[in-house]
């Protein structure tokens, strides 16, 4: 659509876990922006589509020392040996070199779900049903984003449609480069606590690059070597320990933490013991 | 890019090899038909499916081997072992009796016998008459139907000479020679076909004759007894007497198709 070739960027996020209130506005905004179909009545937390998903963790202590924290998980846009891209048999996953965004092509997806097995962050979602919108709701669809069909995988793509719109606007204004803030994904825009900072990690002047280098920042599952581009920040040691550390070696973590996902029937998981 | 080429290259190679294999087989099959090798091939292809007891080498009959199974579909013409044995031990000069009497069955020794119980009898005028031997005739006595080849058609050694149907058995009689059919007859003349052999003369190297007949038929009778015994029972041996003219009538419950396949070498 546009003929501009901007300088290659490496878009990433810095999410402040101390600001996140768990309100879920980011989840709603994401679903609305990206035409995620409403969940069927039979859907469970494990079959619903949530490109952005807020997990809740607690420090496992009993009242009055109980503390909770919220961790928004979305596609981490892995920068190295991207697990999902490496395994897709149809090359339906592509990393855009100009932006670093890991893009999913549902039109080419076969629905084999190998990428879902490969993703350690569980950021990929399958259309277990045919997407259906109740009568009248189709008016709320975002015309810039294609809907998907049943049997294909989808995930966060940093609201790629908004990137195209921003580039078109810049081109119309005769500019090659985007102003900072001209392109923000829906979750960033919707967060009332401004917990998510988005920008070009390679731009030393950008806020996100500064935050990423900060000592309070960490990434999930760093030792896997996937170089995710989502940095999480917290000043609370217990949150950092819970989220940044690899699996605790001494005891099953379920006894100290409780994830946001309700346990499915018969999983053998115990409710957390009160310390 | 290189890995792309290697990967796809390997698979296209595999597909090419597979297609070539199938195509080559089809091509060779067509060639076989044009070269009139088809009947011989049909026999060679099915020969290994015969049970081991039916594939005994003729030289086991005459005691030259204790145990030997034929591995060339009874085509002694090309067999080096047979040629070597014949050269080493030429047949006796003494004249043979006119006919062999084996268990009361008559086997004239002026003719050559095929393992499939057809005989070939060279005539003075250069043709060869072909008929069914005493054992074979008793198995398909009073047949329900006989299908003889048309006059002028060509029969091939080890191919089908003619077809007989008897009580559910659909039998093809193996031809003892290659040649053109010049006359056919029902068995009233004692023969079924008169054949002009290819090459002018009968090549009988793969046919049994003379002293081989007795041990061969003795074994065939053994096999027949086994085939006629009801399943699971031990075979019984007659202790005298000549087999009746129509053996099928004497065994109304036997699976006649199985019995005939056993004796007429139909896999």
């Amino acid at each position: 659509m546009t003929a501009i070739t901007p300088k290659p960027a490496r878009y990433g996020m810095a999410i402040d876990l101390d600001r996140c209130t768990g309100c879920g506005a980011c989840m709603i905004a994401c679903a609305v922006e990206n035409n995620v179909p409403p969940a069927r009545p039979e859907a469970t937390p494990r079959t619903g589509i949530t490109w952005m998903r807020v997990y809740q963790i607690s420090n496992g202590a009993s009242f009055p020392d109980t503390r909770a924290a919220f961790i928004p998980i979305l596609c981490q846009q892995c920068g190295k040996d991207t697990p999902c891209a490496a395994v897709c048999p149809q090359e339906a996953v592509e990393t855009d070199p100009a932006t670093g965004i890991v893009d999913q092509m549902p039109q080419r997806c076969l629905g084999c779900r190998y990428c879902m097995a490969a993703c350690p962050y569980h950021a990929r979602y399958f259309n277990w049903w045919d997407p259906q919108w109740p009568a009248g709701m189709e008016k709320t669809l975002n015309p810039d984003v294609a809907t998907r069909m049943r049997g294909v995988v989808e995930k966060c793509n940093f609201c790629h449609g908004r990137l195209h719109t921003a580039r078109a606007r810049a081109a119309a204004g005769g500019r090659r480069e985007l102003h900072p803030g001209e392109y923000v994904p829906a979750c960033v825009e919707a967060c009332p606590a401004a917990a998510i900072v988005f920008g070009d990690l390679d731009d030393p002047a950008s806020e996100v690059a500064r935050l990423a280098r900060d000592g309070q920042s960490f990434r999930l599952l760093e030792k896997l070597g996937t170089e995710p581009k989502i940095y999480y920040r917290t000043a609370r040691p217990w949150v950092r320990q819970a989220a940044a550390q690899q699996r605790p070696a001494s005891e099953p973590p379920e006894r100290r933490l409780r994830a946001g996902l309700p346990a499915p029937q018969g999983s053998g998981q115990k409710e957390p013991a009160h310390a | 890019m290189l890995s792309h080429i290697i990967f796809l290259g390997l698979f296209y190679t595999v597909l090419a090899v597979l297609s070539a294999t199938v195509a080559l087989s089809l091509f060779r099959a067509a060639q076989d038909f044009r070269a009139r090798r088809a009947e011989a091939i049909c026999w060679q292809a099915t020969f290994p499916d015969l049970p081991a007891r039916e594939r005994v080498c003729r030289h086991e009959f005459t005691g030259e081997f204790a145990h030997r199974t034929c591995d060339r579909a009874f085509d002694c013409r090309e067999c080096q072992t047979h040629a070597a044995l014949v050269a080493e031990r030429p047949p006796d000069a003494a004249p043979l009796p006119r006919e062999a009497d084996v268990f009361g069955l008559e086997f004239p020794l002026d003719r050559f016998y095929h393992r499939g119980h057809a005989w070939a009898h060279p005539q003075p005028d250069g043709t060869v008459t072909v008929g069914l031997d005493a054992l074979g005739a008793r198995l398909v006595a009073e047949p329900d139907a006989i299908e003889l080849p048309a006059v002028g058609s060509h029969i091939q050694s080890n191919g089908a000479a003619w077809h007989v149907r008897k009580r559910g058995a659909d039998v093809r009689i193996l031809s003892p020679l290659d040649g053109e059919v010049v006359a056919t007859s029902d068995s009233q003349n004692g023969w079924y076909l008169t054949v002009k052999p290819d090459g002018g003369q009968l090549d009988a190297r793969h046919l049994l004759r003379g002293a081989e007949i007795r041990p061969w038929i003795a074994r065939e009778m053994e096999r027949l007894q086994s085939a006629l015994a009801p399943a699971g029972q031990a075979p019984t041996m007659a202790d005298g007497g000549v087999p009746v003219d129509d053996i099928a009538a004497g065994y109304p419950d036997a699976d006649w198709d199985a019995v005939c396949s056993e004796i007429f070498l139909q896999p």
Partner: protein, 412 residues
């Protein structure tokens, strides 16, 4: 009708009466119908009919596919031993092995077509192949190999008593058989790669340290381990199925030395497999998994997957049957032979289970729970449809084709 039926059967062997045969196949047909209904529901209504979800993206079907493909390896391995290494004794079982291989692979492909979300897009992998993905390699290889199995099945069918009366069928079969070593070589090459790539599917998952393995060049150790285990399981499965068919039909089908031979082959291959698997497990516990931030023993802290599962896979279902199968005295006792062969096949199934199901059950994110999964009735029905299809195809093949050439010699 019985007359036509008996004319289609091989000569010189006994088969059940048409009525007995009908009684045998009717329940399997019913099971097939029920299974097709379950599969049909999944195809029409979508994969929400299964109990798979975003955490358990692979379930019963993938586990079953990997297992039957490993067990069906007997087809290629017997072909390799017979046509390339000229072990003539295996002629006794090669036809049955080819039919079983064909059933396993065609059944697996059919299940896969139901498993993917968009079956009509199956050709995308061939049109846009990602040559770096193990699953692409699997797709290509299995498609080619199924073709090879089909080509190897044709001669068996053409040798049917009625069909072989058509001279062109027999001559074509004869010419094709002359080229069988070529087909066996291609089959071995393809099987080597796809059995390996099925292991590679899990060994390359950097995001799943439970499954991830280092290896040689682009191939993780699971690539080679899967090939070895499939080669060991193949003869054991042929042994079991031959015995089973012999029991069900009530006839001896192979000479007495054939089954112990298959057991011995299986035992010989099990030894390097157990050795390499043990080394691989130790390396994984000691360095591969901890390097990625996951101490190995915490995988086994989740019920029901305790350390017993490692012991079961390597010792009870691996080392133990290997020791049994390598002793001639034990091989010649049917009870020991069959038990050992069963243990081998169970061990391979357990290995595939560990990689497909346990990998997905174990959490990766620190705050994730252990996941569990049980297949829905539609998934189970689809699996049973494949089983019923296999039994039916084999039953018809056994009745009308010569699957066991030695049967004629043994039936007099």
């Amino acid at each position: 009708m019985p007359k036509v039926d008996s004319q289609l059967m091989p000569r010189g062997v006994r088969r059940s009466t048409p009525r007995q045969f009908l009684l045998w196949i009717l329940p399997w047909c019913a099971l097939l119908a029920f299974g097709l209904y379950g599969a049909g529901l999944c195809l029409v209504k979508g994969l929400n009919q299964t109990n798979m979800d975003n955490r358990f993206a692979f379930g019963l079907w993938i586990f079953v596919d990997l297992t039957v493909i490993a067990l069906g390896a007997g087809a290629f391995f017997t072909g390799f031993l017979l046509y390339i290494l000229k072990k003539r004794e295996l002629k006794a079982v090669i036809n049955s092995a080819v039919v079983i291989g064909f059933i396993c692979y065609s059944g697996a492909v059919a299940a896969l077509l139901v498993d993917v979300g968009q079956p009509a897009r199956f050709w995308f992998t061939f049109w846009h192949p990602n040559v770096h993905s193990m699953l692409t390699e699997v797709t290509f290889c299995i498609s080619c190999y199924l073709t090879v199995l089909f080509i190897e099945y044709i001669p068996i069918v053409l040798k049917n008593r009625k069909l072989r009366q058509v001279p062109s069928f027999l001559v074509f079969e004869f010419e094709l058989h002359k080229l069988m070593p070529v087909l066996a070589g291609v089959a071995t090459f393809l099987s080597f790669f796809h059995q390996g790539s099925l292991g590679g599917l899990y060994g390359v998952l950097r995001g799943r340290p439970f499954a991830f393995r280092e290896g040689f060049a682009i191939w993780p150790s699971t690539f080679f381990l899967f090939i070895l285990s499939a080669a060991a399981a193949g003869p054991a499965f042929i042994l079991l199925t031959t015995w089973l068919v012999s029991k069900i039909s009530g006839k001896p089908l192979v000479r007495p030395e054939v089954l112990p031979l298959l057991g011995r082959i299986s035992g010989i291959l099990l030894v390097p497999y157990i050795l390499l698997k043990s080394i691989d497990t130790l390396v994984w516990i000691d360095s591969t998994s901890p390097a990625r931030g996951f101490a190995a023993y915490q995988y086994y802290a989740w019920k029901p997957f305790g350390p017993w599962i490692l012991f079961a896979e390597i010792v009870a279902f691996g080392l133990l049957p290997a020791l049994i199968l390598l002793r001639r005295r034990l091989r010649e006792s049917p009870a020991w032979l069959l038990s050992a062969a069963t243990l081998v096949c169970l061990g391979i199934a357990l290995n595939r289970f560990v990689f497909t199901i346990q990998t997905l059950a174990l959490p990766t994110l620190p705050f994730d729970p252990f996941m569990s999964y049980l297949p829905s009735w539609q998934e189970t029905a689809t699996f049973l449809a494949v089983v019923a299809y296999g039994v039916l195809l084999y039953s018809f093949s056994f009745r009308y084709l010569t699957l066991f050439p030695q049967e004629k010699d043994l039936s007099c």
